[in-house]
Amino acid sequence: MASLALDNVTVDFPIYGVQKTFRGAIRSATGGLIRREGADHQHVSVRALDNLSLSIKHGDRLGIIGHNGAGKSTLLRLCAGVYEPANGRVLIEGKVSPLFNTAPGLDMDDTGYENIITCGLYLGMTREEIARKTPDIEAFSELGEYLSLPTKTYSTGMLTRLGFAIATAIDPEILVLDEGLGAGDARFAEKAKRRVDALIERASVLILASHSDALIKSLCTRAILLQSGRIMVEGSVDEVNEAYRKLNQATDTNPALSADQFLHSTSAY
């Protein structure tokens, strides 16, 4: 049984090399809190996730929604085991397949076929699995003879198709997905959507980050709203989407509204 638990996790990104030029504590509107520590405030860090707890069980389809800089990507990377938290614990049971940008380890000098193998190995497939999946990747990417050429000869769209085809060929247990996963032109986008749907079907657990409440609504069974590295609202997709809309209205009228103030204004939920 795949499951994932975050227990009071905090993630701070240390910022090096700005100590001399960067003065004064600044609270940005949507990003994480910039903090200064140490005797002379010489340690600058950005708090991306703040004391966050979350439990994801087998069969869950969790949507993460929030503004730019709310901590969505950091949370996804934490779930994928890429980052380890500064405080708190992350317990991952099962194999996590992260799907962020394109395929990991893609090299522009290698041919399409060589990249299928390298990326496949990075994604945790065995050579036999890769050999078995190659016809499927060939068919889906529609690259034909191009797969024998170095990927630097590809157009942007072709490269996206290859990366997408490799990345979605996996059999994931816990699928961690960023909505930014590009998919080329309109015809391909439709094909890509069907492929992602099939991929999600195969997964035991889905964690999806998105700006789009419609996407979350169509794919997820529960959701969280993230703001300044904290979970503002947790619940059903409809509840969370409603809160997200309110947050958008509130920040439109008052951009300086802090997370705390918002939390109080929506505590009636």
Binding site: F13, P14, Y16, R77, A80, G81, V82, Y83, E84, V96, P98, F100, N101, P104, G105, D107, D109, D110, E114, I117, T118, L121, Y122, R127, P150
Partner: protein, 264 residues
């Protein structure tokens, strides 16, 4: 920072045993560097052989050495030094260069250091062509001692792994270290007996040679190639380096491995 020795050891063991992956990474990188060239990796072999032949003959004259003894010494020394120093140099950038990968995937970072060491072994093996030529010219005998090159390479590889891991971590956090290592290596090439023999230095300064760890790592590969057994002192220094090096590396790796994605 609370240490996690089990996570560090697990990273090293799972990385080293995944030879299919690092074997491929190292081999692809070798192919990549010479793509679209006609003689491929033998370009570096060619330039190294020109270097060795011209300077070898010049220095043999200057230092009144017999070319038939000096050239094998210089060639074997240059091959060993090239491997040792390139592993150290590339160790500094091994993690920084893989930023995209480290920030998007959980995997054993040791795969990357294994790939660096493996690629340098590949380079060493195709440079051996020069050495075969020099052996034929200088009538170097192949003896039972020649086989000692295998344990020699093994120890260079085992030590190469901790050096790349340790330097990779340190250089990710402190970017100055890469520059320092570069400068030190440049000087070391002249201070370490590669162009000159320890005998030429005389007994007064021999202690400085014996205390230079790089000399011993070079020597466990160079002496067998010349048909001689490495000195016992060299084996002892390398053994000590292996133990101390891995101890320090595991000490650091168990504490800072988890910070690596934040540093690069």
């Amino acid at each position: 920072m609370t240490p996690s020795y089990s996570a560090a050891i697990d990273d090293v063991v799972s990385g080293c045993t995944n030879w299919r992956m690092w074997g491929r990474l190292g081999w692809q990188e070798t192919k990549r560097r010479y793509r679209r060239t006609i003689i491929g990796p033998f370009w570096t072999t060619l330039s190294l052989s020109i270097f060795i032949f011209t300077l070898g003959i010049l220095w043999a004259q200057l230092w009144k050495q017999d070319p038939k003894t000096y050239l094998p010494f210089l060639t074997a020394g240059m091959l060993a030094w090239g491997m040792v120093s390139t592993i150290i140099t590339e160790g500094c950038s091994v993690f920084v260069a893989a930023e995209g990968l480290i920030k998007s995937l959980k995997f054993s970072y040791t795969l990357l250091t294994c790939a660096v060491v493996w690629r340098n072994l590949i380079v060493f093996f195709h440079h051996l062509v020069i050495y075969v030529g020099v052996m034929l010219y200088a009538d170097v005998e192949v003896t039972a001692n020649t086989l000692l090159v295998l344990p020699g390479l093994f120890f260079v590889a085992v030590n190469g792994l901790w050096v790349t891991t340790l330097l990779g971590i340190m250089c990710s956090r402190f970017r100055d270290i890469q520059q320092i290592v570069g400068s030190v290596l440049q000087i070391s090439m002249f201070v370490t007996p590669i162009f000159w023999t320890p005998k030429q230095l005389g007994n007064r300064f021999i202690l400085y040679v014996d205390l230079n760890p790089l000399y011993h790592y070079v020597d466990i590969v160079r002496s067998p190639l010349m048909g001689k057994a490495p000195a016992l002192l060299s084996w002892e220094m390398v053994a000590a380096g292996t133990v101390v090096g891995w101890a320090v590396t595991l000490f650091c790796y168990s504490r800072f491995r988890r910070r690596l994605p934040y540093w690069i």
